[in-house]
Amino acid sequence: MQADPGKNYFELFGLPGTYTINRSDLTARYQDLQRHFHPDKFSSSSDQERRLSVQMTALINEAYQALKDPIARGQYILSLAGSNTDTETDTAMEPAFLLEQMELREKLEALNDNPDAQRLTAMAESASEKMEIRVTQLHDLLDGHERNLEQARNVLREMQFIDKLQREIESLEDQLL
């Protein structure tokens, strides 16, 4: 995701730049911003204002997507701190984690030809537990007394792996529908 330089999502929503966020408060702010800036509210304004309202709502949507998602929000905070999460080469991942991921992937592949609803549900539940643990870790790493960006970055990379796995589980579940 690429933000326009100089525009900070947290500032736009009137929020401090913490990882901890109250979802319903965020949604309420989002809705009130939309209510104010949506092009529907500018149907009798000048072309100039209409154009600005489209740009503004697009920015509000982009910011909301980034702030509400636990991975995107973490990455955004890191990018504000000048740490790039996209480069995949320079961080070593825990071998244990990688091994576990490989095993899960193999398990999923085995289910590929013959999706089994129960097993898929079990895998999905275990994946979301793993995700929850990391979200809690991120709260500490980003908002706690000892901020640790390097570790946060590793946790985020693991979350990306888990997220990818979750998507693959979902698409197999789709075949069962």
Binding site: M1, Q2, D4, N8, F10, E11, L12, F13, G14, L15, P16, G17, T18, D25, T27, A28, R29, Q31, D32, L33, Q34, R35, H36, F37, H38, P39, D40, K41, S43, S44, S45, S46, D47, Q48, E49, L52, S53, V54, Q55, M56, T57, A58, L59, N61, E62, Y64, Q65, L80, A81, L142, D143, G144, H145, E146, R147, N148, L149, E173, D174, L177
Partner: protein
């Protein structure tokens, strides 16, 4: 002393005056126009009392006939009578072959892009056919409502892609209709049921038409209507039920090898029986070919249900998928809205009730519900309901992307993103001294270019020669509230820029539309020049009104004396020229006033953030120290 102001129709200057606005359901089989009158949204009938306008257009050397008369001639004059044109909108001749459409018309093969139907009145594009339908609805509305329309909301299926939306917009242009908004049909249906007046909830819109099925999950929260997910099957509908019943009749009658005409008779009998069974429990069947009675029998409800059960079950799959994509469960659903003529079938209602564990809402005529919802939204967008708190947040149905190396598509905006949306991606040059970059815009979910729909190609030229990989080319996609895309590209180190409104590669060009407008019968009598002048005058007046109300709201707080004086001068200038007959003077004055208010408009947006968040605690963003 009060000044008396004489205004032409459609040019009203009084902000609180009711502006005439309509909702239009431009349907495959029938089209409708509706409007809010005395607070009530209703469809508008033609002089003969019919509300539904069959979407059929017949061309002849004498002129164009639209509606029921054209529909009556469809068998007599199949080559010049166009029906179901909605299926052709935004399609290429190739698309039509691929989709396996069996069309009775002859197409002009010389145009690779937009298919042109050969008629006795010349070659006609689908956009023009739709334009004819819209013209009839516009004049019906203007006669009924007694004035010129300020604008319209036109509905489109949620799954319509950019090309199909653009084609619909172009058709409105030909019919001289200002489009306030292209609105997705399921969203319109939800509005018609006044779901926006309920406090909170998750709603399902189940839309089963003649040939398509669509399901949308909408969430209402604090007056914001948000589309959460859509799914569907674009080849499943009431026609399939007719076929199932017809096949059964053929088997019962022991018939073999029917010709087209005979099959048509069986189909007609099947459809009538299906429709009658929405009220009766059994109907007698009499199959005749010409005057000859071929077979007699009966169809009861239980038999019909058995015949169509599999088809209805097929609609439940997309329902499941949509519910899942929306991240909700059946127990979370607060209401189910039925749309489309095929939802009159009793078994459809029963199965839907079973699946969603509640009685679906059916009290608005499923054929009119979309037009009525569109009328309600048109009323809001026309500014007739200034205190309205409701807001619609819709999504783009398909992913948008760019061609990258190796014939692959890189997605820039994923499907189901809330619109308006804007995303940028950076690219670079791959050759030393490369001065141009080709941009190929695509729509679809697949990974290969050949499997997606090509929307547009353009070139960013004049990149200063640099080493490969040194240029920074930022390509920005923007989808507006109508779901229409524009793309721009900018080389950021030099500032070289290229921008396109994405006109589908095979869509109609601005010039072609201009030419069609000139040719079109309704404008033959009107001087093109006079029309252009009137448009500029209206534009000028609109801008004056907009600036006036912006000044009244924020002029004191956001402008200093010099700025205000400059804006006043420009307004005075526009006021002077906008009623005169020099188009260039008006254009120039509009440009000047726009330039003078540019900073003001931007400041109002910034100030708006504070206003919008007035009810929330504002906490300063602070960069946390690294621990």
């Amino acid at each position: 002393m009060a000044l008396l102001q004489i205004s032409e129709p459609g040019q009203s200057t009084v902000p609180h005056e009711h502006r005439l606005a309509v909702g239009i359901d431009l349907g495959t089989t029938n089209s409708l126009v509706a409007s809010v009158r005395s607070g009530l949204a209703e469809t508008l009938p033609a002089a003969a009392g019919r509300h539904r306008l069959p979407s059929v257009v017949q061309y002849s050397q004498q002129g164009v006939v639209v509606g029921i008369e054209a529909a009556a001639n469809i068998h007599l004059d199949p080559l010049n009578t166009v029906a179901s044109v909605k299926r052709l909108m935004g399609r290429t001749a190739n698309d039509l072959n691929r989709l396996g459409e069996h069309l009775p018309y002859e197409f002009d093969e010389t145009h690779a892009g937009v298919p042109r139907i050969k008629t006795v009145a010349g070659d006609i594009t689908p956009v023009e056919v739709s334009g004819e339908i819209l013209k009839v609805l516009r004049s019906r509305a203007e006669e009924t409502l007694g004035g010129e329309l300020a604008g319209a909301v036109i509905t489109v299926p949620a799954y319509f892609d950019d090309a199909q939306r653009q084609a619909t917009q172009d058709a409105a242009k030909l019919a001289d209709i200002k489009v306030f908004r292209l609105l997705n049909e399921p969203t319109a249906a939800a509005l018609a049921y006044g779901l926006d007046k309920k406090a909170e909830g998750v709603f399902v819109i189940y839309d089963l038409g003649g040939g398509t099925f669509d399901v949308s999950i909408l969430k209402l929260n604090r007056g914001v209507f948000e589309v959460m997910a859509t799914a569907g099957n674009s080849a499943l509908g009431g026609d399939d039920m007719d076929h199932a019943v017809a096949d059964w009749i053929v088997a019962q009658a022991g018939l073999e090898k029917l010709d087209r005409k005979q099959w048509r008779s069986v189909l007609r009998l099947a459809r009538t029986a299906k429709e009658e069974l929405t009220e009766k429990d059994s109907v007698p069947l009499r199959l005749t070919f010409g005057e000859t009675l071929v077979w007699e029998g009966a169809l009861d409800l239980a038999r019909l249900n058995a015949l169509i059960e599999a088809l209805i079950n097929k609609t439940l799959l997309p329902c499941k998928r949509a519910i899942r994509d929306a991240g909700v469960s059946v127990a979370d659903i607060d209401g189910v809205v039925m749309v489309g003529g095929s939802t009159r079938v009793r078994y459809v209602r029963e199965k839907v009730e079973d699946y969603f564990q509640q009685t679906p809402l059916t009290d608005i005529d499923p054929d009119r519900v979309v037009a009525i919802g569109a009328a309600l939204q048109a009323d809001v967008l026309a500014g007739n309901k200034s205190d309205h708190e409701m807001l619609l947040l819709d999504v783009n149905p398909l992913s948008l992307g760019l061609e990258i190396m190796g014939g692959m598509v890189e997605k820039i905006i994923p499907r189901n993103s809330t619109i308006p949306v804007s995303r940028a991606q950076e690219f670079t040059t791959y050759k030393n001294g490369q001065t141009a970059l080709a941009v190929h815009v695509l729509q679809g979910e697949r990974e290969l270019v050949q499997d997606c729909r090509s929307l547009a190609r353009f070139e960013l030229k004049g990149i200063p020669p640099m080493a490969a990989g040194a240029a920074r080319i930022r390509v920005t996609f923007q989808v507006d509230a109508d779901g229409l895309l524009s793309v721009s590209a900018r080389e950021t180190t030099s500032g070289v820029e290229a921008q396109v409104e994405v006109k589908p590669a095979y869509g109609l060009s601005e010039n072609e539309i201009e030419q069609m407008l000139r040719d079109s019968i309704s404008h033959a009598s009107e001087d093109v020049q006079a029309r252009a002048l009137r448009e500029q005058q209206v534009d000028g007046r609109r801008l004056l009104e907009a600036v006036q109300s912006a000044l009244a709201a924020d002029g004191e707080t956001l402008l200093d004396k010099t700025e205000r004086a400059e804006i006043n001068t420009c307004m005075q200038q526009l006021k002077t020229v906008h009623q005169q007959s020099n188009i260039d003077d008006i254009k120039h004055a509009i440009k000047q006033l726009n330039a003078a208010t540019q900073n003001f408009a931007a400041r109002r947006m910034d100030a708006g953030v504070r206003q919008a968040l007035a009810g929330h605690a504002i906490r300063e963003f602070s960069e946390k120290e690294e621990g």
